[in-house]
Symmetry: C2
Subunit: 242 residues, 2 copies
Amino acid sequence: MTLLSPAELEAALRDIGARRYHRLHPFHAMLHNGKCSKGQVQAWALNRYYYQAMIPIKDASLIARCDDSAIRREWRSRLVDHDGEQEGDGGIARWLKLTDGLGLDREYVTSLRGLLPGTRFAVEAYVRFVREKTLLEAIASSLTELFSPAIIGERMAGMLANYDFVTRETLSYFDKRPPQAKKDSDFALDYVKRHARTPRDQQAVLAALEFKCSVLWSMLDALQHAYVDPKQAPPGAFVPAD
Amino acid sequence: MTLLSPAELEAALRDIGARRYHRLHPFHAMLHNGKCSKGQVQAWALNRYYYQAMIPIKDASLIARCDDSAIRREWRSRLVDHDGEQEGDGGIARWLKLTDGLGLDREYVTSLRGLLPGTRFAVEAYVRFVREKTLLEAIASSLTELFSPAIIGERMAGMLANYDFVTRETLSYFDKRPPQAKKDSDFALDYVKRHARTPRDQQAVLAALEFKCSVLWSMLDALQHAYVDPKQAPPGAFVPAD
């Protein structure tokens, strides 16, 4: 293991994104190319809801282990982004506008009854990682946001062009995210470049980002297995009408 | 165990405050009656700093276990109160103005090197309680704030009247707290009155408040033992100059 310069560490992180981010997953290509049925889009939105709903819990878990007031203050803005300033505001509420717009019952979505076990386990592994690994690794695991503005752009353009059941209004979640993700990932990237100062820490940072890419990837694997090929949803999981 | 009405539960909680809140502790009487030496006031402020510093960690721990966006949003205001909106703002920064004003070195205070083990263990027990007990008990353990406006009023008036080394400026922490504590304890009291609906839950709520009173009480016990009577500070603890 050699010590990377901060610029080399950043390059290695971006290389992980280029090879492992879920933008490369076949289900993402189907989704934004208009190849999904409405039921498959519903299944995606319903499962992804659990990820959205757990993000503030993940972020509060990170704040809860951080003894630096300045970092807690910075990270707190993520709670604001997701839970909002009042009822109906914030990323989770905007995600529910998407599931509403797709014709899913809100009580059914938030009950998590139709969730794929693969989604649940992946999301819970992410929360556990943030609670149990070092603060440096917890912060590094957020760095998939470096790559999210690009996937969000593709997803919005592709979904609006290809699905008559998707509107700009129902995709309002994605309008808000790119500037938030940019601000957050700038902070996290700067943090890991300044704090990962040994080869061991740098390897841990790289592994944290690989881990997080695996979380997102395996959520799409679960969707593909259940709803595309072999189209074999486990007992209890959401069953599309189409 | 009988089921209490919400009003009876509130009365039982207030009765615990009347019997167990640290306003009744001899060290509190000494502090606000002007009977403490400067070194004893310093020891109090230095030890209490750790409690202040851990409050956002405690509150983020509570948010991290809460699956209701509305409660997380409400509880988030406590993070704002303690960590502030920017550097130098918030309750922790204001507490450090107090320790500065008392002539303590800021690096020494924040290093926690002079902390009494009794303080450390009590504060850590509080954080652990919030992480490990039910959400209802975690929320109930915050209810000592029902009683804090009264103690803060006594403390400020008594300290300003009795110590020439204490100024209104150095006590700015206490100016801000009563309205924050009122808002927070109104929310928490309403929550426990609505959610503790079985005798078992109500007993757990009452026990949580008793536990929290014990945390605050034992912090003053540790101070009294180390700095008043028998005045026997453990090895490594802060040694006053006077």
